[in-house]
């Protein structure tokens, strides 16, 4: 491992390289130059005076936010001897599994292309371009014939791949032994247990106020809610990303949520960002991609059928069609275990349910360019880990193993019973975790959950919630005798309250 000093200087060098030449850099230079006209800047102490000026005018805070954002998104630098694929994913057999999974997806996409004889990408004729431009805000009224298209893959196909993941150097004997896991995931990754989770998620404890619990109708607002809103407004006034991330761990007031999330993700909707979105929009108008039809199909199958999200259908098209053409998303492939296909189009191929990542955000943001940027930032920070094979603690493999381990350790009878009737718990909870519970929980509860994902910068809370849901319905589950019955018990999560479940499971269960 790197020792602390060289690790720190490597991190600093990397952040400087990324921020240099960015628009923030030129804005800071311009501000420094403008400040030279001010009387308080003296020639003898030029450097110090300019630094003080930047501090008081709030520009230093913007720089701090940008640095904090870089630290959060990019992993710590690897050893200098490590090749670049090591930073994507250190374990060789996982890289191989991800590579073969990608080959399968591409093969399926290519065969769909040749079957339907549709090119992957082509330029639209001028009349079609004009038509699309006119209908840009109401693409949902379009009814193209999508019956021949099918989603490239669904979460349960991905689960089959994860179930077959094996480390060739691990003793996967045929005889049942302590090395064979009782759940579906057979990879020996390190996952946290409840004492460690209690420490990590200490702000969710019983003695700390939470939105989602302490703002219910029975609790007078003077106890917690008013003060919490006041602190939130102060954090927004200070424009401090790190403080916002800490604040959001106790939940966001609905009125402040949009601004707080934008602050944490460091999205400021500058004119150049709006211009970038307009460029992507013109790309959509001019060129037609096969992936577009897949997106249409996915939205029609999932979000349009959902009671909460069908109103946002048009927004979803506007965001997802642009997302499929955005090359800046390719940056995240340096730290993701996935690799984009060899083509000039960006490499995220949507699966069944992909549009549900965007749908909840439509409640918060109404301007398409800001909605787009928030979604893109959430994707490159969190959501990409939910559909690629990696050993990262927030990757889907670790989340599945964490869920199964928590269930086995704390509800061993339930786990054994479900396993005996052929209803492995992961088969039911996998689809919840892959979609980050979007479409399964009520929207206000979902947003409270995503507050914590942003606050802790980790997806482990999804696995904990999945285990907590099983714990909540344990009595009913002990009486079922088949997988279908177990699915029926857990089919409707829309009445669940997320925060009490998490609190009880982590802090109030007898261990």
């Amino acid at each position: 491992m790197l020792d602390p000093d060289s690790g720190l200087s490597l991190t600093i060098a990397r952040i400087v390289q990324r921020l240099q030449g960015s628009s923030l850099h030129s804005q800071l230079e311009r501000q420094a130059r403008v400040s030279l006209h001010k009387p308080e800047i003296k020639l003898e102490s030029l450097k110090e005076d300019i630094k003080d000026f930047l501090k008081t005018s709030g520009w230093e805070k913007k720089l701090q936010n940008a640095v904090y954002s870089e630290l959060n998104v990019f992993p710590s630098p690897c050893h200098p001897a490590a090749p670049p694929e090591h930073m994507k994913e250190p374990l060789a057999y996982m890289r191989k599994a991800q590579g073969s999974w990608e080959k399968r997806i591409l093969k399926s996409l290519n065969s769909m292309c040749t079957e339907l004889s549709i090119p992957l990408a082509q330029k639209r004729p001028a009349s079609e371009q004009k038509e699309l431009l006119n209908k840009w805000n109401e693409m949902g009224t379009d009814e193209p014939d999508l019956s021949l298209f099918r989603p490239v893959y669904a979460p349960k196909d991905f689960l089959e791949v994860l179930m077959n993941l094996r480390n060739p150097n691990y003793e996967n004997g045929e005889q049942p032994s302590f090395r064979n896991h009782l759940g579906l995931i057979q990879v020996p990754l390190k996952v946290k247990d409840i004492p460690e989770l209690k420490e990590d998620f200490s702000e969710l404890g019983l003695n700390t106020g939470q939105l989602g619990i302490d703002d219910s109708a029975q609790v007078p607002p003077e106890f917690f809610e008013n003060e919490h809103v006041r602190v939130g407004q102060k954090v927004l006034a200070e424009q401090d990303s790190a403080a916002a991330q800490q604040y959001v761990r106790q939940g966001c007031p609905t009125a402040l949520r949009a601004d707080l999330w934008a602050l944490i993700l460091n999205i400021s909707n500058q004119p150049e960002d709006i211009l970038y979105y307009e460029q992507l929009k013109s790309n959509v108008i001019q060129y037609d991609l096969l992936v577009d039809s897949l997106i249409y199909k996915d939205v029609k199958l999932t979000a349009s059928n959902d009671d909460y999200y069908f109103v946002f259908e048009d927004y979803l098209y506007q965001v997802l069609l642009c997302f499929s053409r955005d090359t800046s998303v390719l940056d995240h492939f340096t730290y993701s275990s996935a690799t984009p296909p060899k083509s000039y189009i960006r490499g995220v191929i949507p699966f069944h349910g992909f549009s549900m990542y965007v749908a909840p955000l439509c409640f918060l943001y109404h301007e398409p360019s800001k909605l787009y940027q928030i979604f893109r930032e959430m994707y490159v920070r969190f959501f990409f880990r939910l559909h690629s094979i990696s050993s990262h603690p927030s990757g889907i493999v670790s989340l599945c193993l964490l869920f199964e381990t928590l269930l086995q350790t704390h509800l061993p009878q339930l786990f054994y019973h479900l396993r005996e009737i052929g209803a492995q718990p992961l088969r039911i909870s996998f689809k919840w975790m892959v979609r980050a519970f979007s479409g399964y929980l009520a929207t206000d509860q979902l947003l409270l959950l995503w507050d914590r994902i942003l606050g802790y910068n980790s997806l482990e809370v999804l696995a904990v919630l999945a285990a907590a849901v099983f714990a909540f319905r344990a009595v009913n589950l002990m009486e079922v005798t088949s997988l279908a019955a177990a699915e029926a018990v857990l089919a409707d999560l829309s009445t669940l309250k997320v925060m009490p479940l998490l609190q009880i499971f982590l802090f109030a269960t007898v261990t």
């Binding site: 790197l2 290519n110 990408a121 691990y170």
Partner: protein, 217 residues
């Protein structure tokens, strides 16, 4: 061998024998003892100073290191310079199992001067793994002071040649021109070294959107 050596560093040539597992004498079947040893000697019995050792782990949990130093003639002793250095925080799980590590001089318990042989003692107490070893072993000597990389030394040693009296007044002064060219060259070197990672704008490659198939090789 992959791995970027730092500027001015080259790994020392050495011959490493493959990891040999420890066996109990008289044992009939090969057991998996969980301890293995890798011996490393320098060619032709030479000795060298060791600054840093870089390697890639493969499921080894603990590493001990002993060295033999060149000294007075007689039986050479093995001196322990690293005792049970932990590579995998949790030996039953994957963390740290395939990572790259550096062992530096300041972490060692003894001097690393005039080393003739190195012995790596690998331990993996967990029975879950079939094999364990370390790979891509590289040993680096202390770095020499390298000359300034940003300005080749011969440029600064140029002496101006005998100036013939210039009959043409219109020609610019060669001294001034050469200094300016030198300055521009240094600037280009500096700019090339400071590559910014921020995007400038989008690039449209002609015809790139007319794609029929994706390749997956």
């Amino acid at each position: 061998m992959s791995g970027a050596a730092g500027p001015g560093r080259a790994p020392l040539p050495c011959a490493a024998r493959a990891a040999a597992a420890l066996q109990l004498p008289g044992g009939a079947e090969a057991a998996r003892p969980g301890v293995a040893v890798i011996d490393l000697r320098f060619p032709r019995g030479g000795a060298a100073d060791v600054q840093e050792i870089v390697f890639k782990n493969f499921y080894t949990a603990f590493l001990s290191l002993r060295v033999q130093r060149a000294g007075p003639p007689g039986p050479r002793r093995w001196v322990t310079c690293l005792r049970d250095h932990r590579l995998m925080p949790s030996p039953h799980t994957e963390e740290g199992s395939q990572d790259y590590f550096s062992l530096r001089r300041h972490q060692m318990l003894c001097d690393m001067e005039q080393v003739t042989a190195l012995r790596f003692i690998l331990r993996q107490p967990s029975p879950a793994w079939l094999h364990f070893s370390i790979e891509e072993l590289q040993v680096f000597p202390p770095a020499q002071k390298s000359p300034q990389q940003d300005f080749p030394s011969w440029l600064s040693q140029l002496t101006p040649p005998e100036q013939p009296a210039s009959p043409h007044r219109e020609l610019p002064d060669p001294e001034k021109v050469s200094t300016e060219v030198q300055q521009m060259w240094v600037l280009t070197e500096v700019i090339r070294a400071r590559q910014a990672a921020a995007r400038i704008g989008r690039f449209d490659v002609d015809g790139c959107y007319d794609v029929n198939l994706l390749s997956y090789t």
